[in-house]
Symmetry: C2
Subunit: 91 residues, 2 copies
C-alpha cells in the first residue's frame, strides 16, 4: 500500500520531471500530437502501461491534446506510485 | 459549415437524448463500465466514430468512467453535428 508523500518529497520528485506540474493533490502533464489519431495511439499505450502497473491516470483527450493527471485516491494524495508512473510515461 | 443552434433548438434536441446534459455551450454524458479495459474499448469505438464524422468529442477517462463532451468550436456553440454524433453514440 503506497503512502502519501510529504510536500518535501513531492518537490524533490517533481524536480526530476520537468514537464509535470503540481495541481493541488495531483500532478498533470499535457502532450500535443500531430493529429487525433496520433493522440489515440498514445492514449492506448498509456492505457497498457496503466494496466500493467494497476495504476490509472485520468486521461483527457481534446482532439490532438492529451492531459494526464495522476494521484493515488486510496492514499488521498501523491505517492511513489504516481511518480513511478510519471517517469515511465516520460520514458 | 454547421451553424450554432438556438436555445430552443438545443432544448428540442436534448429532449430526445435522456442521458445527455447541457453544460454551458456543451453537452455531456457520463458512461460507467465494469473495468478500465471495458472503458478503453468504448473510448476506441468513440474515436473511430469521431474520425468517421470528422467531429471529435472531448473524452475524459477516469478508471471505469468515461465522460464525453460535445460542442462545435468553429461555430462557438452547439450545432446539428453535435446532436448527430450524440445520437450515434447512444445507438
Amino acid at each position: 500500500m503506497a503512502t502519501k508523500l510529504t510536500e518535501a518529497a513531492i518537490a524533490k520528485n517533481l524536480a526530476g520531471l520537468a514537464d509535470w506540474e503540481l495541481r493541488g493533490n495531483e500532478i498533470a502533464r499535457e502532450y500535443r500530437f500531430s493529429s487525433f489519431n496520433a493522440a489515440m495511439v498514445f492514449v492506448n499505450r498509456v492505457a497498457d502501461l496503466a494496466e500493467s502497473m494497476d495504476h490509472h491516470p485520468d486521461i483527457l483527450v481534446q482532439f490532438n491534446k492529451v492531459t494526464l493527471t495522476l494521484s493515488t485516491h486510496s492514499a488521498g494524495g501523491l505517492t511513489d506510485l504516481d511518480f513511478e508512473l510519471a517517469k515511465k510515461l516520460d520514458a
